[in-house]
């Protein structure tokens, strides 16, 4: 047992490896949230009137909303007036090539191991780097352009493709959806925009690395992905953030729209600063992610590996409107020290013969708390809808917790809804068994964890899967991961 505990303590005490602050001149808006701030942001970005109006509607909605009380953790106090709602690097934000980018910024990416370089691009990844809210550099846009694919910052899309943005922004996550979505609608800084034209299969994984860098600056990205009829796109989102003493709010919104026969695969590896071992500092990751399978036979698949943030609170969801459409959710969430995760998904079956599949794997170590919360809703018209949910929890040590809150609502008696759940502990005897075959405890834990999470990791694009596997091992090093 001693050995086990040692491993667990090691994990629990491991320092966050990516904590450092980059010293770059920033253009920071005065703290506070009011109409003036919103107008300041909108003006800074030279936005059209309709968008400003929409932001102001968001602000109104935000003022009317209350903070939720149903979550399985104590809501931290957030002073929305102390947050600065806009920060952009002061130096010119647009570059034609990497040579023009601030070397210190590049060094930061280097430290993070973000492969922002030609090799990576050649390997098939186009990277749109969002550095504190404003897109700094976009690679491989030209190549995508040839296929008619639009992959750019949200701000750029507003300027160059206003008709698309206007049509779809807020169509899946309305400005009044919830308090954090309303906040984002009002104050969103930047984000990514993707449009895949009819019948086009995007030839590479589109990838964005988000990074939070200015103290006291909440980051409010907005991502909008539209897959037109018969198209396909795989989108990767990965993040790390520097070490910080004060909590930072991160309230992003992601909207996915899949038209007939289109498929969107959205993968996330989230490794933001989780706070120190007492839970001090760390990111509040309160994100609204939702997709709609608008057309027949369309498909949306969410895959997430969540290892960071002090609180992760999100439910990437799918509205299955088109007949025969499919929604998937694959998740691994790791909590250690005092981290909290309250995550899961919502699947709304509206169209006929719609299918959904939910695979959730929670891993709790230290004093981490992990909740799975999932809603499967079958509407009256969703004949023969099918859902399968599997929800597993793995505990490391005896101070952590795992909780499961499944909600099933069916208004159609032809629907099939299945729910399976397990809770297990990494056993001393499992570790001893592997020890007895020559494998040390650390490797044993990594083997067990990766085996446990395999079903989800397998959903990630190959390159990402390897990184995620390493991340899991590093995150739980010594404990069980």
């Amino acid at each position: 047992m001693g050995n086990d505990n040692e491993i667990i303590d090691n994990i629990a005490n491991k320092e966050y490896e990516f904590g450092f602050v980059t010293d770059i001149e920033m253009d920071v808006a005065p703290a506070g949230l009011n109409e003036d701030t919103i107008r300041y942001i909108s003006a800074k970005k030279n936005e059209p009137e309709w968008l400003l109006e929409w932001r102001l509607k968001g602000l109104q909605a935000f003022r009317k909303q209350q903070l939720p009380t149903w979550q399985n953790f104590e809501m931290p106090e957030i002073d929305f007036q102390k947050i600065s709602y806009y920060a952009a690097p002061k130096s010119k934000p647009k570059y034609d090539s990497l040579d023009q980018v601030d070397p210190e910024l590049l060094a930061t990416f280097e430290k993070l191991g973000i492969p922002l370089n030609e090799q990576k691009a050649l390997a098939g990844v186009a990277v749109d780097v969002v550095f504190d809210s404003v897109s700094v550099t976009t690679t491989y846009k030209e190549k995508l352009k040839e296929l008619g694919i639009i992959f750019c910052s949200f701000g750029e899309a507003v300027k160059e493709h206003p008709e698309l943005v206007k049509k779809y922004v807020g169509s899946v996550v309305p400005h009044s959806d919830n308090i954090f979505a309303a906040l984002n609608a009002a104050a969103f800084s930047d984000g990514s925009f993707v449009y895949i034209p009819k019948g086009v299969r995007c030839p590479m994984e589109l990838s964005t690395y988000f990074r939070i860098n200015t103290e006291n600056t909440g980051q409010f990205e907005r991502t909008l992905i539209i897959a037109d009829e018969g198209s396909y796109v795989s989108y990767l989102e990965g993040c790390t953030a520097p070490m910080r003493d004060e909590n930072q709010l991160h309230a992003a919104v992601v909207e996915l729209i899949a038209l007939g026969n289109a498929e969107i695969k959205y993968s996330t590896v989230q490794n933001w600063y989780p706070g120190d071992k007492d839970g001090k500092g760390g990111i509040y990751n309160f994100v609204t992610k939702r997709g709609i399978c608008k057309g027949e036979n369309s498909k949306i698949s969410w895959t997430q590996v969540e290892t960071g943030s002090s609180i992760t609170w999100k439910y990437p969801s799918v509205i299955l409107q088109g007949d025969n459409s499919t929604g998937e959710f694959y998740s691994v969430a790791v909590t250690r020290n005092k981290q909290i995760a309250d995550t899961g998904t919502k699947m709304y079956h509206i169209g006929r013969n719609t299918r959904s599949r939910i695979i959730s794997k929670g891993i709790s170590a230290g004093e981490g708390q992990n909740s799975y919360r999932g809603l499967v809703q079958v509407g009256p018209k969703a004949d023969s809808a099918r859902n399968f949910t599997q929800c597993d929890s793995l505990l490391i040590g005896d101070r952590c917790g795992a909780h499961t809150f499944p909600y099933i609502e069916s208004k159609n008696n032809t629907a099939t809804v299945e729910h399976e759940a397990t809770t297990s502990k990494i056993g001393e005897d499992q570790i001893f068994y592997l020890n007895q075959r020559g494998i040390d405890s650390e490797k044993a834990v990594a083997l067990i964890i990766n085996g446990y999470a395999k079903e989800v990791l397998n959903q990630l694009p190959m390159e990402f899967a390897v990184e995620a596997q390493k991340l899991l091992s590093i995150t739980l090093e010594g404990s069980v991961g």
């Binding site: 001893f432 020890n435 007895q436 494998i439 083997l447």
Partner: protein
């Protein structure tokens, strides 16, 4: 190869092994028999280094090194293998991947380069054939959903793959039907050589009809109370263990 001297060990303050002595040389097969609760499986656990056992006295030398000074993985890398009475299930970890990791660790310890994928697969196929292990089980998750017999056969397959110098079979025969018992025994017999040794822990004489031991020891009340050749096993089968309890007082035959 293995010299156990005056070994005292226990668990949670309860003394189980009370001065056990045993010497095993290369090329030998030793059977350890005894009534339930005699300390047979505890002996296996102590030798493999299970943490919750505490050694209070005595010494164990394995190939000239102090075994008790090593952690469990080092013992394994040094060539000690325990075939578990209840093999553990590890979901999601494929049997073959697990073996590749294990073999890699053992080879690295011996400063040998890892086998490449082709060599490894060739070795795996050869050993599957040798111990008649079902190829379908090789790619499944480690012991997950295996029947009792399949788990035991997997232990022997692992033994064949890792080529330890000393193998301890902890009640490998328990829960096996006669066909599985025959296959497992055949595998072990094929793996016997002048260079390695086996300790076979069993409650019944039946297994020893298939794996013929060089020595048979009776373990009772934490010590070896009688040693002999394979005929001793037959005698035990006939008379049970009760007669030893009377003999024990004489403390007659300790090797």
């Amino acid at each position: 190869m293995l010299i156990i001297k005056n070994l005292h060990a226990g668990i949670e303050g309860k003394q189980i092994l009370k001065g056990l002595n045993l010497t095993v040389n290369a090329g030998e097969v030793h059977a350890i028999m005894g009534p339930n609760g005699a300390g047979k499986s505890s002996l296996a656990s102590v030798l493999a280094g299970r943490e919750n056992y505490e050694v209070t006295e005595g010494e164990v030398s394995f190939q000239g090194k102090d075994l008790l000074d090593m952690n469990p993985e080092t013992r394994a890398r040094e060539g000690l293998f325990l075939a578990f009475q209840y093999p553990i299930e590890i979901p999601g970890v494929s049997n073959i991947n697990f073996l590749k990791t294990a073999l890699g660790e053992i080879r690295a310890y011996k400063n040998l380069p890892p086998l490449d994928a082709k060599e490894f697969l060739a070795l795996s196929r050869e050993k599957q054939k040798l111990v008649e292990f079902d190829a379908k089980l090789v790619n499944r998750s480690l012991n997950e959903g295996f029947s009792g017999g399949e788990k035991k056969r997997n232990e022997i397959f692992q033994l064949a793959m890792l080529e330890p110098s000393l193998s301890i079979l902890d009640e490998t025969d328990s829960g096996l039907d006669i066909d599985a018992l025959r296959i497992v025994s055949k595998g072990v017999n094929k793996l016997r050589s002048e260079k390695n040794a086996f300790i076979i822990i069993t409650h019944y004489q039946r297994l020893l009809e298939y794996i013929v031991p060089d020595f048979v020891h009776v373990l009772a009340n934490g010590r070896i109370v009688k040693s002999g050749t394979k005929e001793l096993a037959l005698e035990l089968e006939e008379k049970g263990y009760d007669w030893l309890k009377e003999e024990k007082e004489q403390e007659a035959t300790i090797i």
